[in-house]
């Protein structure tokens, strides 16, 4: 998927049907992988346990593992006594808007980069690489200063705009590789039929690119949904997001600490659902784009 070093032959490989693989599944490997998966889930499971225990045993040392009645009190308190709903809406709105805008801007740019050969494209891709690697503070602190001067500090708009810019390089990169997969002859045929470039992109390319766009969209959405640093610096009371809220609760006393854990659970459940649903498409989508450089 890298524009750079890939030397793989440009043959399209069909993903083999799972049936053939199952025949050879290695039981030791399977058991190891199940163990690994459980280990990977451990922090999540542990937090889920902690927030559903009654407060007096939630963080007891040594941990209390049984003999208590699970409770959803922390969730109830979170919902009733804090502005959690508002933080969640902020987080979701910013993630959705920034994803849509990043794709709307990124798709044509990625398409152009895949069709315009030579130095200009290479330099622009290189720039995208450099932008992706920038230390976040190098752009976010000036954004803080500028947004305060412009009076847009602590708005969903400012945060979404920042995230569009920050996530743009990654989405362009990913999309550019998907476009590179589509033979140029297809564009030419479409243009002979009277399509403009924009028409070609809209009528031919985008429908063909659906798995690629979905993949890029899922990634950008996840990045935006998770973003902590940018939100920490650019928001305060009006557009606070859930990750920022959770970190301001780490030094709280018991019931509120449990609420923070509950907030973490509620923030995570939707993305876990997404990851379970999307993983199949992600592998397929990524392999379409990535096999050839």
């Amino acid at each position: 998927m890298m524009p750079s070093t890939a030397t793989a032959p440009a043959t399209r490989v069909v993903v083999p049907a799972p049936k053939r693989r199952r025949r050879r599944a290695n039981p030791t490997a399977a058991i190891l992988l199940i163990l690994l998966a459980v280990l990977m889930l451990a922090p999540f499971i542990w937090t889920a346990l902690s927030v559903t225990k009654p407060t007096d045993v939630a963080f007891a040392n040594p941990p209390v593992l049984s003999g208590y009645t699970p409770t959803l009190e922390a969730f109830k308190n979170l919902w009733e006594t804090t502005y959690f709903a508002e933080y969640l809406v902020n987080t979701a709105v910013v993630a959705v808007i920034s994803t849509v805008v990043a794709l709307v801007l990124g798709i044509p740019a990625a398409y152009a980069l895949s069709r315009f050969p030579g130095y200009v494209s290479a330099i622009l891709l290189l720039l995208a690489l450099v932008f992706r690697s920038l230390p976040r503070f190098a752009v976010v602190l000036p954004m803080y200063d500028i947004s305060r001067a412009l009076g847009i500090y602590d708005t969903n708009f400012a945060l979404a705009a920042a995230l569009v810019a920050i996530n743009q390089p990654f989405s362009i990169w990913l999309l550019r590789n998907f476009f590179a997969e589509i033979p140029k002859e297809l564009d030419e045929a479409a243009m002979i039929d009277g399509c403009t470039r924009w028409g070609t992109l809209r009528r031919i390319m985008i429908p063909l690119m659906r798995p690629g766009i979905l993949t890029a969209g899922v990634f950008v959405f996840l990045f935006a949904f998770q973003e902590y640093l940018t939100a920490l610096v650019l928001t305060d009371t009006a557009s606070k997001t859930v990750p920022v809220f959770i970190t301001t609760q780490l030094g709280q006393t018991l019931p509120m600490l449990q609420q923070a854990g509950a907030a973490a659970m509620l923030l995570t459940l939707p993305v876990i659902a997404i990851s379970f649903i999307a993983q199949k498409y992600l592998v397929a989508g990524l392999s379409d784009g990535s096999v050839k450089g």
């Binding site: 070093t5 030397t7 801007l105 610096v233």
Partner: protein, 290 residues
Amino acid sequence: MRRREFASFIGPSLLVMVGLLVLPLIRTVQWSFQEVNYGQAGTFIGLSNYTQALGDPRFGRAVFFTLLLTAIVTALILVVGYLVAIGVNGLGKLRPYILGSMLVAYVLPGVVGAVSFSWLFNSNFGGVLNLVIERLTGQELLWFTDTWPNRVMIIAHTVWHLLPFSVLMILAGLQGVPKELREAARIDGANALKMHLWVIIPTMRGIIGFVCLITIMDVLRTFDSLIPLSPQADAIGNESIMFYVFDNAFRDGSQQLGLGSAVNVLSILLILICLFPFIRDLLKEAKAKA
């Protein structure tokens, strides 16, 4: 594609990136030569921010720790990621469940995952892993105040968080390896190892390079996970560069904004050095095409 079309396609995106990334970056470079507060014009003080940063042992510690973390985590992620991807690729019905559960670590917001992770190890808050490890080794490790146990925990967390991405990518890459090669690699024994090392991995050089690149970038900017995982990061030498910037340029007000900006500029240089091999490859490729 014509030049004008190219410009119109790429224009909006470029405009956003110039406006929202390049302009702030210029501001950062300006600040790095100034003594300055948010919302005020600074005074030019030449290179003193840079000399202050480079002369600050705390900055040196942060650079050392960040590079160490990057090297260890990247190596672990590549090796473990490859092995897991091979394993997952060989799974049948189980595959979606295993992959789905692993992805959870990646989709959890970094700081949330780090909080959960810290609870697993924090004895004062009834952690369970510290207890298990204590029972197994007979040693009571100080996960939050001893340099190396704390490093191990930070490394474990970073690998935990980033591993799924590399598995996903390598798995996707494996789908592109010709079937005969993969079949051949399944033969047990030394031949399989050779097959992986000399045939399959070179075929996937591109994707592995990409995973390596992304991992380096992500680890170099480690920041939020240290808030719960290393509450006295600087005192035990486990502070990252980004944490140092945060502490100087944001947390205690803005007195040190110039210094923070200078560190930002220095870390950009550092990142460019780390990424140099990849950049060189990209340029070579462009030259070949041009």
